[in-house]
């Protein structure tokens, strides 16, 4: 019986140690594939291109100063949609923010003038999805259409739900980062046409 008590005590310690595990990130919720997001955001385009951009240290510095974000990927990929005459309709880039509750991934479409044409949340987690869903239901990303990187990217949930506010702000920030990335990495280089 002594052995059994010892085993039970050990099991209890292990279970107690496991208790914090559920407090961590939950499984991903993928709302759209990359292809669906690109097709939706570049509607009207007849031809599609991939433009990959590697930022210079100076460009990274500009982005950090403007948005507080460190653009530290090796390169960034824009999916560019053009019309039959080869004119740019829009470009889409995917950006991710890693929060304590898991990643938030957003696809953002930008016009050749650098203004936001649309944005789609493509990935959340099981935990964050219910917080963001009310915002998605009212298509809150439409509020940012027409704004460039220097515009105001704040979110108002109108009810004081702090987690919705928090994640809405993260999504809004990702949209602003995308606009800044396009401005610095494409437009200012003269590559937007």
């Amino acid at each position: 019986m002594r052995n059994l008590c010892w085993l039970a005590a050990t099991a209890l310690v292990i279970l107690a140690a496991a208790a914090p595990a559920p407090a961590h990130i939950t499984p991903p919720v993928v709302l759209a594939s990359d292809r669906d997001a690109v097709a939706g955001l570049l509607s009207g385009a007849r031809r599609f291109f991939v433009r990959e951009v590697r930022l210079t240290p100076a460009e990274r510095q500009v982005i950090r100063q403007q948005t507080g974000w460190s653009a530290d990927e090796d390169f960034y990929r824009f999916y560019v949609g053009r019309d039959e005459q080869g004119r740019v309709v829009a470009a889409t880039v995917f950006l991710t923010e890693f929060t304590i509750h898991g990643p938030v991934r957003v696809a953002v479409a930008l016009g050749p003038d650098g203004k936001v044409k649309g944005a789609t949340v493509v990935e959340l987690t099981e935990e964050t999805y219910p917080w963001v869903k009310p915002l998605l239901d009212r298509e809150f990303t439409r509020e940012y259409v027409g704004r460039d990187a220097r515009g105001t990217f704040t979110v108002s949930v109108g009810g004081g739900d702090s987690m919705a506010q928090f994640y809405g702000q993260i999504i809004a920030s990702l949209i602003q980062r995308a606009a800044m990335l396009y401005e610095v990495g494409v437009i200012k280089r003269g590559d937007a046409a």
Binding site: A17, V30, F48
Partner: protein
């Protein structure tokens, strides 16, 4: 284990072990489905999810930009998770704790099984080795060699094999084996 065996546990102990093994089995099945839908179960799918993003253009090292025409068909149509380093860190720490704790509890139950010591050592080690191979394989896929994604599949399979052996042998001994008292 010191004369104490699964087959001689009191009913409460047998029910506890049985329900724990069944619960972990259900969890493992759910994890299997989750892995197959979010990432995929082939080494290629794991590699696509974990390996560093490679340029689609012919942008070489040191080049600042590149562009090429594509078709929409070249963009991934499957809604899969792409794990980058921060997510890999999060996944590693939760899974290393979680799976090791599960392996520990499975091992505690299996220590009471009446099998040869050599076999017991082998089986009790499987979930631990599988966990380390699984998570270690993720890091190696990302930072060493993408083809090492096969380790992730192998590690998951080892964990599953360990669980199945522990569960089958333990359940047999709990409910069907008649212990012969020396």
């Amino acid at each position: 284990m010191n004369g104490f065996h699964l087959s001689t546990l009191p009913l409460s102990g047998k029910v506890f072990c049985t329900l724990f093994l069944l619960g972990i089995g259900c969890g493992a099945l759910a994890a299997f489905v989750q892995a197959s839908t979010a990432v995929g179960l082939s080494p290629a799918a794991v590699e696509a999810s974990l390996a560093p993003q490679m340029p689609m253009t012919h942008m070489g090292h040191g080049q600042m930009s590149g562009e090429k025409e594509i078709t929409l068909g070249e963009i991934s149509s499957s809604a899969k998770v792409w794990m980058r380093t921060p997510l890999l860190i999060q996944t590693s720490h939760t899974h290393l704790f979680g799976q090791t704790l599960i392996a520990g509890l499975l091992g505690l139950i299996f220590l009471l099984a009446s099998v040869r010591e050599g076999l017991k050592v082998l089986i009790v080690a499987l979930p631990f080795v599988g966990t380390l191979m699984d998570i270690g394989g993720m890091w190696l896929t990302r930072f060493a060699w993408p083809s090492l994604s096969v380790l992730v599949i192998a590690g998951g399979s080892l964990f599953a094999l360990g669980y199945v052996l522990i569960a089958v042998i333990s359940l047999y001994e709990l409910w069907f084996r008649k212990e012969t008292m020396a």
